[in-house]
């Protein structure tokens, strides 16, 4: 049911991308269809609000060139110009970071996730997430995006993609290296924590 709902939500975007091969106007509403009102994120669709503009631009460029693979985003990015990228990312990066929600995950899982985010697991060669993504996971522009306040689904999907090799646009292969070492339990824990992380 949820999938059907998501697909219905996507239909206008896909139709839009398909029937105007020439150009889709940089229509914020198109982005909001999936990424939620004000770019706050929606289910597994990541939040865009308050994300660094250079990071967002790079992702759009990578979708367009095929360096980042995603069936929904690639046609959309291909239909846009560089100046559309600029306008859209400027808009979303200027929006306030949505208030973080309390997680419903259990306390032990969150505590394991917090430990990974703050200290890492060096016994397995895993540095702390916050070592590169900022002391509160707020991101360090331009290359290291904010990771708090993203849905657990989005975070765990990305880690899985790096691990399997379907996402490869991380600088210096840093996320590939970390993802390869994370166990399934750790991915679950850190994704749960980052969803609400940084509340403190």
């Amino acid at each position: 049911m949820k999938i059907l709902f998501l697909m219905l939500g996507l239909m206008p975007v896909l139709a839009h991308a398909a029937d105007s091969a020439k150009m889709v106007k940089p229509d914020i509403a198109v982005c909001e269809n999936c990424h939620g009102k004000d770019g706050a994120g929606n289910g597994d669709f990541p939040r865009l609000a308050g994300m660094g503009a250079p990071y967002l631009v790079k992702q759009l460029q990578d979708f367009r060139s095929g360096k980042r693979v995603n069936q929904i985003m690639q046609p959309i990015a291909k239909s846009m110009s560089e100046s559309d990228f600029m306008k859209i990312t400027e808009y979303f990066s200027g929006l306030p970071v949505p208030a973080l929600q309390e997680s419903t995950a259990d306390a032990a899982l969150l505590s394991q996730g917090e430990s990974l985010a703050v200290n890492g697991d060096w016994a397995h060669g895993i540095p702390a997430c916050f070592q590169c993504h900022g002391a509160r996971g707020q991101g360090i522009a331009p290359e290291f995006p904010a990771i708090v306040g993203q849905s657990a689904g989005y975070i765990s999907n990305q880690i899985a993609s790096w691990k399997s090799g379907t996402r490869t646009n991380d600088p210096v292969g840093l996320m590939k290296s970390v993802s390869d070492k994370l166990s399934d339990d750790q991915i679950k824990a850190v994704s749960a924590y980052l969803t609400k992380g940084g509340v403190k």
Partner: protein, 279 residues
């Protein structure tokens, strides 16, 4: 015969077990008492030296920048590898130094600051943290994983231009193109490798052999052992060919200091881009 093989196998597996680096006690094992409080302060100083020992620090670094994972990680000069190796004679000071004196050296050179006094709250806390972390490591031994693993001599003479390329591809994203690291909210998120906020010319890390060993085992973060030996040598040479705060031990001019203190694998006193390093 069969027994001999079994014995051999047992000996081999015992050897393999011995080869595994020491695992220091988990942080939750720090006792909840007065001693534990001092150990925890030691950890705080170690990981956030800028805040907890700020009066002793003269640059932008923290202990943990060179001693990863709060001083726990093997092959990253872990505290448990250092604590059990002192007192020791050091060529650098030409005398026997205690562990406390060794830590003072870190503050004077790597942190470009002033040494906390023996018996000061900071020193007592750092020594307590190192002592606790070394629980179970025999004294007067060199445990596997202590220090940085020495790198074999490079096949090709380390080269600045090749090093610059390695740096751009692997290091620059965090340490920046000017090598001066990156601050977020007024604190270094990525430490400076050269320039005024980095370690001075008296720090062990300015030696190319030392830096190459650290880099090979630990950099880029999470990707230790990913660079080739040659790349590690080249990039170490490149990084250590930039200027940094002066050697506090220098009494005379550069030439005299080079002869007296820098007869080692380093660029002190060399001219790079028309500037004499160390001035």
């Amino acid at each position: 015969m069969k027994i001999a093989i079994l014995l051999l196998l047992a000996a081999t597996s015992a050897f393999a077990a011995e080869e595994k680096p020491f695992t220091p006690p988990a942080e939750r094992e720090i006792p909840n008492n007065e001693f534990g409080n001092v150990i925890r302060l030691g950890k705080s100083i170690f990981t956030d030296t800028q805040h907890y020992a700020k009066q002793h620090v003269g640059n932008g670094l923290n202990c943990v920048n060179c001693h990863l994972d709060s001083g726990r990680k093997e092959n990253s000069s872990p505290l448990w590898g250092a604590y059990v190796r002192y007192p020791a004679y050091r060529a650098k000071t030409k005398q026997v130094n205690t562990f406390e004196e060794r830590v003072q050296g870190c503050f004077m050179y790597s942190l470009n600051g002033t040494a906390p006094a023996l018996g000061s709250a900071e020193m007592t806390a750092l020594v307590s943290y190192a002592y606790w972390m070394s629980t179970g490591v025999p004294v007067n031994t060199t445990p596997k994983g202590a220090g940085y693993p020495k790198l074999k001599k490079a096949a090709l003479t380390p080269d600045f231009s090749r090093g610059k390329e390695v740096y751009a591809a692997n290091c620059q994203i965090c340490h920046q193109s000017n090598g001066e690291g990156k601050k977020v909210d007024g604190k270094f998120a990525f430490p400076p490798l050269w320039g005024n906020e980095s370690f001075n010319w008296g720090a062990g890390m300015h030696r190319i052999d030392n830096a190459a060993a650290f880099i090979k085992a630990n950099m880029p973060l999470s990707k230790g052992d990913s660079l080739s030996d040659q790349e590690a040598w080249d990039v170490a040479l490149f990084v250590m060919s930039h200027d940094r705060p002066k050697d506090p031990r220098a009494k005379g001019g550069i030439a005299a200091t080079k002869k007296e203190l820098h007869d080692e694998n380093c660029r002190y006193g060399d001219t790079v881009d028309g500037k004499v390093l160390g001035e």
